[in-house]
């Protein structure tokens, strides 16, 4: 599970990795999960009338989020429910997956 965020499909997104397939309203895929956005893909998106996409949180070479950053984020999100044993199990599952992703997939 790549932590992701939604961004406007414009020049500022160049270099980002798309995390989910983007389809136009006829169901044709405009770009696939895993594609790295470049000017040409952005133009395709614009033509299909699509204005936002989900991309990985790391943006290009600088500002890459390390596994530690992601795990700290995870801590923050679960901070208020840590006392709950069921929630702890859930958090563990996600932490494991985050580490696996960073290592290059399960």
């Amino acid at each position: 599970m790549a932590p992701e965020r939604i961004v406007r499909a414009d020049e500022s997104a160049i270099g980002s990795t798309v995390t989910r397939d983007v389809k136009d309203d006829k169901g044709a895929v405009v770009c696939f999960a895993g594609d790295i956005l470049n000017a040409s893909l952005l133009l395709d998106l614009k033509r299909a009338g699509i204005s936002s996409v989900y991309v990985e949180r790391q943006v290009g070479a600088d500002g890459e989020r390390s596994v530690d950053d992601l795990l700290v984020e995870l801590d923050r999100r679960f901070a208020r429910v840590e006392a709950n044993p069921v929630m702890r199990v859930l958090k563990e599952v996600i932490a494991e997956r985050t580490r696996e992703e960073a290592r290059g997939g399960p």
Binding site: M1, A2, P3, E4, I6, T19, R20, D21, V22, K23, D24, D25, V29, A33, K46, G49, I50, S51, S52, V53, Y54, E73, R76, R77, F78, R80, V81, N84, V86, M87, V89, L90, K91, V93, I94, R97
Partner: protein, 288 residues
Amino acid sequence: MADREEQVGGSQREDIRGRIEEIEDLPTLPGVTAALSEIVAERGSTSRDIAELVSKDPALSAKFLKLVNAPFYGFPERIASVQNAVLLVGSHVVKAVASSTEVYGAPGEAALGLWDHSLGVALASRLLAVRLDVMDADEVMVAGLLHDLGKVVLYALSGEQAEETYRLAAEGNMLTSEAERQVLGVDHAEIGGWSAQCWNFPAALREPISYHHEPALSKRSGLKTAIVHLADVLVHAVGFGDGGNGLVPPVDEAAWNSLGLTEDDLREIAERVDDELSATATSLYRSA
């Protein structure tokens, strides 16, 4: 109802409640209505095709369920399935509704995240319902899709106020319910409950909408409410389509116990939910 903070005074609550009855339209995201109009116009398309599209959109689903459960049709509080709603209103009505539903010109991030989150909880609810061998897995899926109906309604009543509230939640590291109570004096579960009641939704939908944060309060649809509650927690946990700060709400102990799942089950389900949601294509976001 459990204790509710009423810092902002009863009048704002009553104002919101009153305005629900006057809602004429529930706008949706751009792209959806165009897609729907296209499907309706196609000669070969069936009501299943129409229902397939509608059941991914919380605003459209709510709209059709509201229509078909109106006393005017003759069987209020009976229909909880989008498929059946589409069959019973008929394609001529679907066509009229499709061409007239309004669209948010430039939806903010929180709105986009809400639509995705709703779809995520729909899918997770269905997964759980099938796993637990519940009879109406499709109805549970609709309940999951509509669990945050209160937020959809809030956007319809005042998009600006909605975005402001969710910004506050993100900045203040609060759950959205907390920010809502602070700004509006009422939270989305209650707003959703009022709406579901006003629109004559069956209990199987009304209760998960009203009680997805406090499942112990459900009376008639305890199991479905517990499922939607857990699905909501799971989808927040994996971080699908939040558009907010992603704080994960706690799972209710009684609800968890009532489902009879083990920790191993939880691991397996969480992984499946994550897999399935990662594979889900993003909604159609068209430029205005």
